[in-house]
């Protein structure tokens, strides 16, 4: 079946993306942007996180699930299709969430740090890399970037995102 934007929604398959890092690394903004982009493309989207201690350097993990219909707001262990880490230690701690055929974006994190002089844009770079694997339209991504960053650094974010998305 197709959604109203003409994107393929294959059966009831839900796409599961796990983000992790520590407070202040932009984990929550990144997961918000994916969720918005999926929503703009007409998917049912759920994003769940606990942000009680996030501001105080604690662990932050954010679960994003989208598809035709999503029940649980949480990804099961061993089920994440994509794992987007912003911090190596947290990556190692939560790796059991990744499914056997899942995609780990850890190597992209190193590239993101090399590519982004300003660390503010690391999460945008990671989103660009992630976008290569998802069935979300570029139009929705760009709109989500603008809304997710509340209109700040629109041009820079767009540039970093597209650079990462277009890289092989």
């Amino acid at each position: 079946m197709k959604n109203e934007k003409g994107n393929e929604i294959t059966g009831n398959k839900v796409t599961d993306i796990l983000f992790c890092g520590t407070g202040g690394q932009g984990v929550l903004t990144a997961s918000e942007i994916v969720s918005l982009a999926a929503m703009y493309d007409g998917f049912h989207t759920k994003k769940s996180e606990v942000h009680g201690m996030a501001q105080r350097g604690g662990s932050v993990e954010s679960h994003v699930r989208y598809g035709k219909h999503v029940s649980s707001p949480l990804i099961e262990e061993g089920q994440a299709d994509f794992f987007v880490p912003f911090y190596k230690d947290e990556h190692d701690r939560l790796i059991a969430y990744l499914s056997k055929d899942g995609k780990d974006l850890l190597s992209d994190l190193e590239n993101a740090h090399l590519a982004c002089e300003n660390k503010k844009f690391v999460n945008t770079y990671m989103l660009g890399r992630l976008s290569k694997h998802l069935n979300i339209s570029q139009e929705s991504w760009l709109k989500a970037l603008e809304i997710g960053f509340k209109g700040r650094f629109v041009e820079e974010n767009r540039k970093v995102f597209l650079e990462a998305a277009n890289k092989a």
């Binding site: 918000e32 989207t45 994003k47 769940s48 009680g52 501001q55 350097g57 604690g58 707001p73």
Partner: protein
């Protein structure tokens, strides 16, 4: 055109209430309910207020209902304990304008001091309770709750949990419906709860509960989905979604109107299915009721009463397993770089004092390596427990420590108690001029209200003096004489309050020149690490490193270094 937004459960609930014509809202911050009032504060049509604590919030909101408008209270689960007194009796008085009580439980304690299950409060207080499973449902149930409130003349509790409050989902929103104010007519038998009137009200309340039980059996908020009949699951709130994820083909009785129970629907559902389970987080609230109806139901092991559920745990419950607790591996939270609370803990640690603590960012002072806060029970308890502990443990040994928001919440009464009962010693108020722990809300000592408008500012010095403190002094958190001042006031034969002032760096983003680090003088003794600042750490080669980007230049680490490796930059 229809608008769809990605809303959290808190925001969706607030949006639903706004569209239902809400005119008044009062709350006290607390994770995970804080965002409800923050969202409502943006609407000019809603008189949204931060109250000083949950009891006052409840009464402020109830007063608005009695005066004739739709009104809402919100707090975290333990907040409802503080509001229990008005809550219990408001079940008797009933309401005038629709009145909704939102309470956000925190199974797994993402940011709380206990895991109490407030579904039990519905039964105890004899109030109806609704439980949305998701933001979409929270949005819809807000409107329904106001209708139920006015239909049955009762406050209605909406219980959410962290996974509903802080999950975001696409929610299609609508327009606001203005609801006409109801006139207030004096009616002592309804609003004046003296024994004679209250007795009659209790009789009426029991009858009302029977009516509401009928409603519970009629409302589509409780509905059966019959699929594979070999497995039947009764589930409420977010537990339903976990169970649905784990067993998509099972039969379900989805509970959205939790109390009073829908007995007929439960009985009919039980007849339809072979194995019957109740999937619910925390206490066996529904399970015990199903059993009371004489229906055999499979029980979850006690171990699953602890923490939250997820779809994996639901599968385990159905397989009759016991929960295996995993080691806690998440990073420990720390005070921010440059946080003024750290300076106070450094002084208290040097003085080897026993610290009667409270709830706020400063509770982190209990963790290693600071370990300088020795009790935390509930908000306000630092002052009252200091009162008795200092008497028993002796002069000069104990101090009480409390944040500005917590002091206004319920520390003031404790200080009056301490003065009245002749306590001696020191209470420290950590005045960072906001409620930092819950995300920087203003409080009366900030002098700004929920709408961001300037208002009367509570002068902490004045209220402490009025409460009966003998000495009230104010000091900068980074003053050189902080430790001496604490020692002097702790030892004095007087009741003292020391107000330690420094603005919260999370909101005010203060950055001073960072200290100079001279690695050739560093002997890696580790003394600077004992203040647990995220800006100083040992790198992979075992060398002390100062992260100049994170450092805010508070210079507390300079005080810890005996070798001159860390030095204040002259500017």
């Amino acid at each position: 055109m229809k608008t769809t937004l990605l809303l959290s459960g808190d925001e969706a609930l607030a949006r639903g209430a706004y569209e239902a014509g809400l005119k008044a809202a009062a709350a006290y911050p607390g994770t995970p309910s804080t965002e409800i009032l923050e969202y409502l504060a943006k609407f000019p049509e809603v008189d949204a207020k931060w109250s000083v604590n949950e009891k006052t919030a409840y009464e402020v909101a109830l007063g608005a209902s009695v005066a004739g408008v739709r009104s809402m209270y919100s707090s975290k689960h333990v907040g409802l304990n503080v509001a229990m007194d008005p809550l219990m009796t408001s079940a008797y008085t009933g309401i005038n304008g629709g009145f909704v009580v939102v309470v956000a439980d925190d199974p797994q304690m993402a940011s709380s001091q206990n895991e109490q299950d407030n579904r039990l409060i519905a039964k105890f207080a004899k109030l109806p309770m609704l439980e949305p499973a998701s933001p979409k449902e929270a949005y819809e149930m807000a409107r329904i709750a106001f209708e139920v409130s006015e239909k049955f003349d009762t406050p209605v509790i909406i219980r959410i949990t962290t996974r509903v409050a802080h999950t975001k989902e696409n929610v299609e929103i609508g327009e606001r419906n203005e609801i006409a104010d109801k006139p207030f007519t004096p009616n002592a038998p309804k609003y004046v709860m003296v024994p004679g009137y209250a007795y009659k009200k209790h009789i009426a309340l029991e009858a009302k509960l029977l009516e509401m039980a009928k409603y519970s059996d009629e409302t589509p908020l409780n509905s059966a989905e019959i699929n594979d009949k070999s497995l039947g699951i009764i589930a409420d709130g977010v537990s339903y979604l976990y169970a649905k994820e784990a067993f998509p083909d099972a039969s379900f009785l989805k509970i959205g109107f939790t109390y009073p129970f829908c007995d007929e629907k439960i009985k009919n559902f039980a007849k339809e299915v072979k194995d019957l389970y109740v999937i619910e987080e925390s206490e066996p609230f529904i399970e015990e009721h199903v059993r009371q109806l004489g229906i055999p139901v499979k029980a979850k092991d006690v171990s699953y009463r602890i923490g939250e559920l997820n779809s994996t745990l639901v599968k385990e419950i159905i397989e009759n397993k016991k929960k295996i607790e995993k080691p806690f591996t998440a990073r420990k939270p720390v005070l921010c770089p440059g946080c003024s609370h750290r300076a106070v803990f450094y002084a208290l640690k040097n003085l080897k004092l026993t610290v009667s603590g409270d709830i706020g960012c400063y509770t982190l002072g209990a963790l290693k390596p600071l370990e300088t806060l020795h009790t935390t029970v509930c908000m306000g308890a630092s002052v009252t427990m200091f009162e008795s502990m200092s008497k028993i443990l002796g002069r000069g040994k104990v101090v009480g420590i409390i944040g500005d928001s917590t002091f206004v919440h319920s520390g003031v009464e404790g200080l009056i108690d301490a003065a009245y009962n002749g306590a001696k010693g020191l209470v420290i108020i950590l005045d960072n001029s906001n409620t930092a722990m819950t995300g920087s809300q203003p409080n009366p000592a900030t002098g700004v209200n929920a709408k961001g408008k300037k208002t009367k500012r509570l002068i902490l010095e004045d209220i402490c003096k009025a409460a009966g403190a003998d000495i009230v002094e104010t000091i900068n958190a980074f003053a050189d004489n902080l430790q001496d001042k604490i020692k002097e006031l702790t030892d004095k034969d007087a009741l003292s309050v020391l107000i330690v002032k420094y603005p919260c760096r999370l909101i005010y983003k203060i950055k001073d020149p960072v200290p100079k680090f001279n690695s050739s003088k560093c002997v890696t003794c580790g003394a600077c690490l004992q203040i647990d600042c995220p800006a100083i750490y040992k790198n992979k080669e075992g060398k002390i490193t100062l992260d100049e980007h994170l450092c805010t230049g508070c210079n507390l680490c300079v005080k810890t270094c005996k070798f001159g490796a860390l030095a204040k930059k002259d500017n």
